[in-house]
Symmetry: none
Subunit: 402 residues, 2 copies
């Protein structure tokens, strides 16, 4: 049985770009190590979740790891809360939250003037009500997440976000009988929050400067943090995750992965690529399945900056050299979780290149790792085909039948 | 509407092998007729059951014939019993059985010293208890299968195999209320068997020669023989099966195929390839769908003998010549039920080449029938896509919609 390294280059897939002579970032980048691995293995195109689906990193990583998003993706609340680094537990109820401005009992700005920093406000709001712990964490600008932790909670409660201005902020309502307790907690929390926010120095300063206060929390997208069957038990593996992105670490943790910290690793373009790969290599003495997520390519895509995407690809490739020396006992899999074309600036439904490289398996005729080259390769698969192929190519599959 | 010949070369898929200059058996073999058929048709890669699944011949043939193994594969008991040539009926309960050695009420060898021949023992054990017919058939060494036939039977009974030594042999227990009758029959059978086995000359001789007796039956993998919807009715065909392998004949028979016997055919490498193909050709006057399974390639794979695999491929190819003359009114389909790479020695999760050849259809650019060549062909499919494509290319599909 072989060890497995699954490297997900976030947002890897691309479309042709004029800046790159109408090539994709992968086509245009210098990446001899990925090409070597493609040449010494099988390749193909992988559609995250399914053909034409514009997957998020959350739904795609769930699907790649064998958790059908239809069954386990419980909405944006839990996954955005994970993305903000809240250490969620199965059963927690999580919401997306906006700081908003209320004047004369009416919502006048759903984004509180895109306030820069609400960390102090969020810290002040954390509390416990009737045995339910309430966790609040700020994101970028007005964005935040709210998490309820405790017994007898339900995610069947309505949004408090009126989804428009010149409306009163809403209280939440239970959508079924089992959600009455949860709704009462949230409404108590909101009432309490209004007082705290209106009296907070930050808001008093904003008002005295003629700006809108962040004096209301609008909640939407309630979801229950899913219980993921343990990846290690399901596939008989010892799995660890290396990622600078809280969302990916959160999903991996829910799936039972150990989380490996790496010096200099972050979810940005200036992460330490070499340390990430070296740390994966060293971890193979303790784990036999390492999931790596490197964020850079996705950032270039979202920012419509092809050079950034190219930089992330080339820096990653440079770090990959050690992979070539362990193919006798290690299966290397490289793909993306979705495409984020620089020409598009967001996730698209395009398939993503994938390679499976290890000694002894068939090498298809593909010698370059990019969208066009691998389209002549062995596979046209979906994300949920990846784990069965990994188990097969790492000699870990049980026979089905006789 | 065209006739159909579906030739399954068991375990056909391969991986590169040093003995073959790092080519697969198909790449290395001389097989002008298969190449001709590939050139005059469409080709592709077919993943048995699904991507990366290490299918057995049982699950794969079920899936190829349109019976989802998730629905119809009821465990190894029934399919191993079929493999031993027991003529099973839907509703029969079948177990995998081991002859084991019990000394002082403890299992000391789960394989009875890998006893060579238990045919006489098995014959002696066959009986009828409370209206239930009990069929016992020996396999290789200590292996056997046990079948219960009659009314009110259930497969929800526990193994009697302690799955280890220095344990007492177990009686079976019903796993639900409906299985009480079945469990009582099995336990009566086991009690009776112990007496017969302990008194049998074979065992007395073994003991007097200082060897372990085969004096206990260990049962595992209970399963009910599935009722397969009739293939002929489902697809409006008259179907027959030609195979030297009892398992394949068993599945085909359950699916309503007629079974054609062929002079000199067996499930070995020295089967009469020419007679098999000629018999299929002659049977086209009576049947319009012929399933052929030829075992040889799989044997070479399991035994890690590339030359054997090559021999089976080349002998099969030589026999195929008549296929080329009937393409005007016959669809020829050639594939494998799974890969059995000689370098691996067992079924792997690799996809298998497939070709569909008949006059008048598109010819893709593929001119050779091997893993790499067909990877550039028309299709990347799974086994359950085969029948719909067969119906389509043989002009037998109903339109779906208008």
């Amino acid at each position: 049985m072989k060890n497995v390294i699954l490297l997900i280059m976030d947002g890897l897939g691309d479309r042709p770009n004029e800046i790159f002579d109408n090539k994709t970032a992968l086509q245009y980048s210098y990446k001899p190590n990925m090409d070597f691995l493609a040449e010494h293995g099988v390749t193909g195109l992988m559609s995250p979740v399914s053909y034409g689906i514009r997957s998020g990193s959350d739904t795609s990583h769930l699907s790649i790891l064998g958790y059908r998003p239809e069954d386990y993706y419980t909405g944006r609340g839990p996954f955005e809360a994970m993305g903000l680094g809240i250490d969620l537990k199965p059963g927690d109820i999580a919401f997306r939250a906006n700081y908003a401005s209320v004047v004369n009992d009416m919502v006048v700005d759903r984004r509180a003037g895109r306030i820069r920093d609400t960390n102090d406000l969020s810290k002040k709001l954390e509390t416990e009500i009737n045995g339910i712990k309430i966790i609040m964490k700020s994101g970028v600008e007005h964005r935040a997440a709210l998490v309820l932790r405790g017994d007898n909670l339900s995610d069947k409660v309505s949004d408090t976000d009126p989804h428009g201005v010149n409306s009163k902020p809403l209280n939440t309502s239970p959508l079924d009988d089992n959600a009455k307790f949860t709704a009462s907690i949230i409404n108590k929390f909101l009432e309490r929050s209004r007082k705290i926010l209106n009296e907070h120095k930050i808001n008093k300063d904003l008002i005295s400067n003629g700006k809108l206060p962040a004096n209301e929390i609008l909640l939407r997208g309630a979801g229950k943090v899913p219980e993921l069957p343990d990846f290690n038990i399901k596939y008989n593996l010892r799995a660890a995750c290396i990622s600078g992105t809280p969302l990916i670490r959160g999903i991996a943790k829910l799936a039972g992965f150990d989380i490996i910290d790496v010096d200099g690793m972050n979810g940005r373009i200036d992460t330490n690529y070499k340390n990430i790969i070296n740390s994966a290599m060293e971890s193979l003495n303790k784990y036999n399945f390492i999931l790596i997520n490197i964020k850079g390519a996705d950032i270039g895509g979202h920012d419509k900056k092809p050079e950034i995407k190219k930089y992330a690809i080339e820096e990653t490739d440079r770090a990959l050299k050690p992979f070539k020396d362990v193919l006798n006992n290690t299966l290397i899999v490289i793909t993306g979780d979705h495409s984020t074309p620089c020409s598009y600036g967001d996730h698209s439904g395009d398939p993503v290149p994938i390679l499976f490289s290890t000694d002894g398996i068939i090498n298809d005729d593909v010698k370059k790792f990019d969208e066009l080259s691998v389209s002549h390769g062995y596979y046209k698969i979906k994300s949920d085909d990846i784990i069965p192929l990994i188990l097969s190519y790492s000699d870990r599959s049980e026979k089905y039948g006789a």
